[in-house]
Symmetry: C2
Subunit: 260 residues, 2 copies
């Protein structure tokens, strides 16, 4: 569990929890638990996705994947326990939140992670390897596989801050949808343009597996244009909030500029 | 998910939720959600335990296991989604419970299922196949692997009923520890004495795998004596409650007498 949770990931989802919580007037302390919980859910999903029966990846963040470093049974159980612990963490008794707030965070995270969110996206992905896919279907898959958890990170931050401002909430959700998609488009581009050492996982693996990607469907230049368009849409979603939105926009900028 | 959840299991854990809820003065309607949630967690654990990297079982309840009926990736994802959905169910908004009650149920279930409960028991089990084990270590393993979730079923029923009576709660916990252990001793005996058709899974598989079991450590007759002793201890735990405890005691009786 610790090997996979603390292996130097970018921590984009927890950072989004902190920034959204701050954006809604909450404290860093309020964001701590959902930030940890969502990273645990993200880590579990990577551990299970890397398994031989799934993506069969041996390298993650420059290190052997969990089932290579340990064994398959350990990786399955570590993933199961990380997922379970996320809900244990969010349901722990304490004075930091109202019970209704904790419940709303658990509902938000479980919806985004489960059968109508991330898991559905992964199932869709596995059933379409090697098959033709429209851009719309690809977008729908990524909205579930990656987007749901990224949008949930922003909602968790707002819930942790006990945000009652529906304008802020709606703007965060819109922002989340655009950066979630941008994140995936950038991932697809990096798989083509970055090398394995920088990436920390084998580059070019999408093509080897005949996976449908944005560059394979749109071409490289239109794909980069789409990335810029998504960044602008993300910026537009938060424009009404001026300087208050600056840290979130800096993160959006990082997502489209990152080199791994 | 449905294939594994609705495949004719004995539903002992949900029945325990209903009986414990009734024992504490709650209604069947109050028990519905935690009963469903704990069966989902139990089902997920069976789907993952049956995987080739774990127990590698092809038959469960007389039918092909999930990864045989579908494939390994689907089984991993179905288990993940069942586990996640259990928490989605318990955190759903509604008027049936107070938010603090729902939180307490989520905390109870996640603790029992996770790294300090069922998953730890399974990890312990996998790391001790073919190794010598003391009776105490075997008991500790089963307390985690099976006992934690059975005790949690009783606690969930009490929480669903909003039980504030600590005598009732303590008695339910004691009862749970005894029947949880009795359940496992009986399982070990059935693996020796029942045939594959009645059992719905291959009989004699513990011996084939060189798994430490109660009969292999204690011998057959002492093992049966232990089973009776555990039943009596379970009965003693609920004796102060008279007729009110009768349905729970009937279930304990079923656990030690069942033929599969």
């Amino acid at each position: 569990m610790l090997y996979s949770l603390l292996n130097g990931g970018k921590r984009i989802r927890p950072v989004l929890v902190y920034l959204a919580c701050e954006f809604c007037g909450g404290s860093a302390e309020q964001a701590d638990l959902p930030a940890a919980a969502i990273e645990m859910v993200h880590s579990y999903s990577l551990v299970h996705d890397d398994l031989p029966a799934m993506d069969n990846d041996e390298l993650r963040r420059g290190k052997p994947t969990c089932h290579i470093a340990f064994d398959e049974a350990t990786a399955i159980l570590a993933g199961d326990a990380l997922l379970t612990s996320a809900f244990e963490l969010l349901s722990q008794p304490g004075e930091r939140y109202q019970p209704a707030q904790q419940l709303a965070m658990i509902q938000c995270l479980s919806r985004a992670a489960g059968e109508h969110g991330m898991v559905q996206g992964q199932a869709f992905d596995l059933s379409h390897v090697g098959k033709a896919l429209t851009v719309e279907a690809l977008q729908q898959m990524h909205a579930l596989k990656t987007g749901a958890l990224i949008t949930a990170a922003l909602e968790l931050g707002a819930l942790a801050a006990n945000c009652g401002n529906s304008d802020q909430l709606n703007a965060l959700r819109q922002f989340g949808q655009h950066i979630g998609l941008a994140f995936q488009v950038k991932d697809d581009l990096l798989d083509i343009e970055a090398d394995t050492v920088t990436l920390g996982k084998p580059s070019g693996s999408d093509q080897v597996r005949n996976k449908p990607t944005y560059p394979s469907l749109l071409g490289l230049a239109p794909c980069k244009a789409l990335l810029q368009q998504l960044l602008h849409q993300a910026e537009d979603a938060l424009k009404p909030f001026g300087d208050r939105a600056r840290p979130l926009l800096q993160l959006a900028d990082y997502i489209v500029r990152r080199s791994y």
